[in-house]
Every structure is written in C-alpha cells, then in structure tokens.
C-alpha cells in the first residue's frame, strides 16, 4: 500500500516535471531567449595583484593612507562611510594626534544638540565620531544627485562580487558606448545623465567619472604618481580595509590556529593508529 501510494505520487511529480520540461523545451526552441546588452557587454572586474591577497596578505599602510586621501578629497563629497569611526584610522597607521586632527578638520561637521537650547546643531568631529554623512537624509541625497542615492561605502568591497577589483575596475572603466553595442541593441543608448561603464551590472551608471586626471589628488613626497589608475587602486585598497578592518588579525591568527590543528590532527592520527594496532579492521 505504501509502495503503491509512493509510486502514484512519484509518477505524478515526475510526470508533471517531464511535461513542464517538454513545454519549456518547445518554447525554448521555437522562441530562443533573446540576448541582452547587459549579458553581452557586461565585463568581469580586471584583476589587480593586491598586497592583501592570499593567506599571508596584509594592508599596505602607505597605499591605504593614500586611498583614504582620495576618499577624503573626492568620494566623501557624496558618499557616506557610516560604519567607520575616526578612531578606526589608527588601524591604518595614523597616531592619536593625527586622528584627532583629521576628525577636527573634517569638512562635514558632526551633528549634535546645542546643550543650552536643545536645538540641532553641528560641531567639529572627534575621534569617537563615525564619519559624518554628506547629506542630511535620503531625500537630500537624491535631490543633489540626479535622483540616485550615492551608496554608503563602508562595506562596498564585500557587497559586490570580487569587490576590491570591482571598485578599481568601475573607477577606471568609464568609456563611450561601443559602436558595436548600439548596432546590436539600438534601443540601449545610454540615457542622458547616466554614464556608460561595462563593469556596472546594467552598464549605465548615475555616478559621473570621479577620477579624471593625473594629479587630481596631490600625494605626499616619496609616493607614486597619482594617475587615475593609481588613485583607483589606492581607494579600492582603502575601501577593502573599511569593509574588513580585522583582516590582518584574522589571517595571522588563522595561521597559528591551522598550525596548531595540523599538529593536533597528526597526534590524534598517531593515537588512533596505536590504539587500533592490535585490531584488524
């Protein structure tokens, strides 16, 4: 009885599925799915050899500091960094006094309440503050940016596939729309106000190219030449740090844990062998 019922249920489900497959296959052959511009012209991020790649990877302090400078002078005009506090900057090699100065001199003031009147007000940031947001709210952000909200950058490199390479590729990937694309998909001309970028999921991005010329940011002495490519790499490294500030601790403790576990596993294997030595199994 159980087997009869089971067979009936099995025949029902398998039959339904095979019928679905047959109708789907007919539709697939008679009307093959049309390729889309996103499918054909979207590109995977270009690969950079990062200092933080691999199990022994670490952040290049100089590079991350340069990236912070790019963020400060370019990105922070529109993008927030709400999950990072000024105090966290000690993690990329700034000392306490420098962090204090950076917070105090930050262009956007920290929101506060006037202690006398209770009215909302602003004051210079202190190390304990998180990076203040450039816009008071989403409505203000939309209004100032052609109806597109600039996303928060704290976790950007973890919120995209292959994030560090993605940020670098996106920043250096602006170009005019390929003629081939327009020939194949005449309806997909980049709308005005958007910018063509093959690394962006739907190819057209609201953000105008933020890094445009060599020397847009002035690097300190002894640093590499601030080309667009260099600045893009540096800011991608900085955003990798903001998304994963504990990466160095994680990797170094991982090495210690794995070494310990490997030794322990060899020991357990030896005790397993010695306990079973007299038992054939």
């Amino acid at each position: 009885m159980v087997r009869l019922l089971a067979a009936l249920v099995g025949i029902f489900f398998a039959g339904m599925l095979l019928y679905s497959f047959a109708t789907g296959a007919v539709a697939y052959i008679s009307q093959p799915p049309q390729p889309t511009a996103e499918h054909e012209f979207h590109e995977h991020p270009r690969q950079v050899a990062w200092s933080f790649d691999g199990p022994l990877g670490h952040y290049d302090r100089q590079q991350v500091q340069r990236g912070f400078q790019v963020f400060k002078e370019v990105c922070s005009a529109c993008h927030s960094l709400r999950l990072v506090a000024f105090r966290d900057l000690q993690g990329i090699g700034y000392n306490e006094a420098e962090v204090k100065a950076i917070a105090k001199g930050w262009a956007i003031k920290a929101p506060d309440v006037d202690p006398k009147t209770g009215e909302p007000t602003t004051r210079p940031a202190v190390p304990a503050d998180f990076f203040p947001k450039p816009f008071a709210n989403d409505v203000a952000a939309r209004a100032a940016n052609n109806n597109a909200i600039p996303p928060d950058l704290s976790l950007m490199t973890k919120a995209r596939h292959d994030g560090s390479n993605y940020v670098y590729s996106l920043l250096t990937g602006y170009q005019s729309q390929p003629a081939e694309l327009l020939k194949k998909f005449p309806d997909t001309k980049t709308p005005s106000g958007l910018h063509y970028n093959p690394y962006f999921a739907n190819l057209n991005l609201a953000m105008p190219p933020p890094l445009t010329s060599t020397g847009q940011v002035t690097y300190g002495p002894g640093q590499p030449k601030p080309t667009v490519d260099q600045m893009a790499q540096d800011v991608a490294a900085f955003l990798t740090w903001t998304a994963e500030p504990k990466m160095e601790t994680r990797k170094s403790s991982g090495i210690a844990v794995l070494l310990f576990l490997l030794v322990a596993t060899v020991l357990t294997y030896m005790s397993y062998q010695s306990i079973w030595a007299d038992k054939k199994h």
């Binding site: 087997r3 067979a7 398998a14 497959f21 999950l83 991982g254 794995l258 596993t265 397993y272």
Partner: protein, 430 residues
Amino acid sequence: MSFPWAEHYTPKHPLMKWVDDRLPLPRFVYNAVGAGYPVPRNLNYFWNFGVLSGAALIVQIITGIILAMHYAASSGVAFESVEHIMRDVNGGWLLRYAHSNGASFFFIVVYIHIFRGLFYSSYKAPREMVWLLGVVIFLLMMATAFMGYVLPWGQMSYWGAQVITGLFSAIPLVGEPIHTWLLGGFAPGNAALNRFFSLHYLLPFVIAAVIILHIWALHIPGSSNPTGVEVKGPQDTVPFHPYYTAKDGFGLGVFLVLYCAVLFFAPNWLGHPDNYIPANPMATPAHIVPEWYFWPFYAILRAFTFDFFFVPAKLLGVFAMFASILLLFVLPWLDTSPVRSGSYRPLFKKFFWLLVVDVLILGYCGGAPAAEPFVMISQIAAAYYFAHFLIILPIVSRIERPLPLPNSITESVLGHEPAGVAAKPAIAAE
C-alpha cells in the same frame, strides 16, 4: 539488553560508587560513549560524520549564545549590530564568521551523514526510528538555518524571508491570512525579525533533544556497519572507548582543519555579497537565492512552471519541495531489499551514484538564475529525484540479485571466520 557481551559499569573509586548508587549518570555515560557500548569493528570513515554533526551543533550553540549577547533583533539596528560585532566586539569577527561558516559546515557533514545512511541503507529494520528522528533533525536544522540567515537583516535576509514565507500564501483561500499571521505583518518587518530570533534561539535546543532520542534509538540495536551484516558476537565489536573515541578524535581534527581554513582565509566564500547591503523593501535583488545548502530544494520549488487544473504551479512547487524531504520518512518501507549495504547491491549502487550526481545538478541549478537552460535541467533532475525514491528504489529492491554477503563482520575483516567461533553459537542466538 542487545549486547550480552557488553561490559557492565563497575565503579572503581568509592566516590563514583556513591554517585552511581544515587544517580546512575556515570553508568549512563559509560554505556553511551564509553567502553560499555560495543561497536562493529569494521566502521569506515563515513561513520565519523554523526559525531562531527554533533560537534558542529556544539560550535553553533556556543558561538550563537555569545553572538546573541551583542546582537540586537530590531529591524532598525540589526544590520548595524552585526557590523558592531564585526568591528568593535573583541573577537567578534571570529565569533560571527565561525557561526556563519559553522552553519555551512554543519550542513556539509550532515549531508554526508545522510548519504552514508542512504548508501548503507541504515534506515532499514531495526533502525527505522533512528532514521525517522534523523529526518526530524534535518527539518529542524533547515528551519533554524533559514531563520538564522534572516537575522543580519541584509538584502538576501530580507528577500529570502519574503520568498520563503510567501510560500504559505500559495495555499488556497487561507494562504494570505496564514502568511500575514506568520510574519506578524504584510511583509517581513520588526515583528517577523523578533520571532525569527526567538525561534532561532529555541530550535537548536530542540535539535539537541531530538539528537538524544536519535542516539538512544541507535543504542537499542547498536550501530550498523559497512557490510550490513548484523553483529553476531563479541569478536565482531570493539568498545566505543577507546577505539572509536580515538578514531572520531582524528576525524574531528580533519574537520576542524578544513573548517578553520575556510573560516580564517575565505570567510565570505560561501555567503552572498548582497547580504552586506542593508535590507531594503524598495529594491529587489536581481537574483534572490537562499544559502547553498538549500539550493537543491529551491531548484525543485522553481521547477514547476505550469498549473495542474485548479492547482497553481507555485503551490505544486511548494508541495514538491516539502514532499522531496518528507518522502524520506517512508524510505524504510520503500526499499524492501533484505540486503542493507550498497556494496553488495550492484544495481542499487549505480542508481545511488546517479542520485548523488542528480542532487549536485539540482544544487547547481538552484543557485543559478531562474532562466533557461537551468529551469529545464532542474525539471529533468527533479523528475529523477522523485522517480528514484518513489518508483525506482522499490523496483530495484524487487528485481536485484545481491552479491553474496560475508558470514560475519569478523570474516569480512579477517577473510576467514576466527577460530573457535563455531564452537559457541549460543551467543548469536541470545
């Protein structure tokens, strides 16, 4: 007692005798995982995965309890509280990555444990109850893992909750009210997040309780073994301790090495980047996918694309998805072959490996976007999945000619019967 040769507990220290007379806990432990539990001597490494599943549950409970001390189950701050754990709690990144990857590794070892049971037909008499309780544990694990994935309140958390709770709205007439009642609203929100957190904290302890029943039921007939031949006498077994504690210790070491390699060096490898974007009810992700361990079932859910008379395709998919797990409950009565081990079942073995490949294909399709050709592939694979358990397995059991079985476990290990066994057949008859 099933094992007349099992050693009985005799307290050595007067204190232990005093305790054992008043509360026989030492005796209980001795019989459960000590020298008082005789285990077939020929278990292979696939028998390590029960203990590994238990270890994974313990890791999840310990890391989970500490995470709950720092997490805030409120839709306004849940995402930020997880980032607070990652950034500002001492060792918080370790706890959180250990917990999220721990869920994946829990499923890896449980899937191997289940497929071991399928290959060696561990579900057959007299171990049906062990199997049934195992399926209950699997269902509880799936519920727990699903609700846990909602807690960080990222985009995939939110939209995963939306899709899965939305399944209930496929029920005719009462579906919508049930959906609203379960969520405490019309869409996932603070009420849903709070109850998911509450249940996510509760269910692991329910799992632990069912595991106790699972092991209890196992200890009545004792462990199965790779030959599928029942234990016939003391020469076929070794005491659990120290033999299998030592072997499980080694298995645990290998498990921890692999788990820690992922945890420390690729902690986001098994996750989805979209869950690092805060939940936004106004923006649907391009492809909503659950965690990898649900992909085979998600593929079955999406494989139904047309209505059957008055039953909408979505409802059929929901039925099929639940049926794909619930059918495991009747498995002991579908496979009627008297031979347990797949090693001695040539035809069954071929279909078993076909099933393994089939489930991997279903998993791949479940993780892929809901577009052709993945839908067509998953339809074929899902059809085979149901046909395998519900049609093929009963027929195979009937028509198959199994290979000759060894006379005993010891014979299979030594290649001959040990001297002197024939002289005392009384043990086997007892």
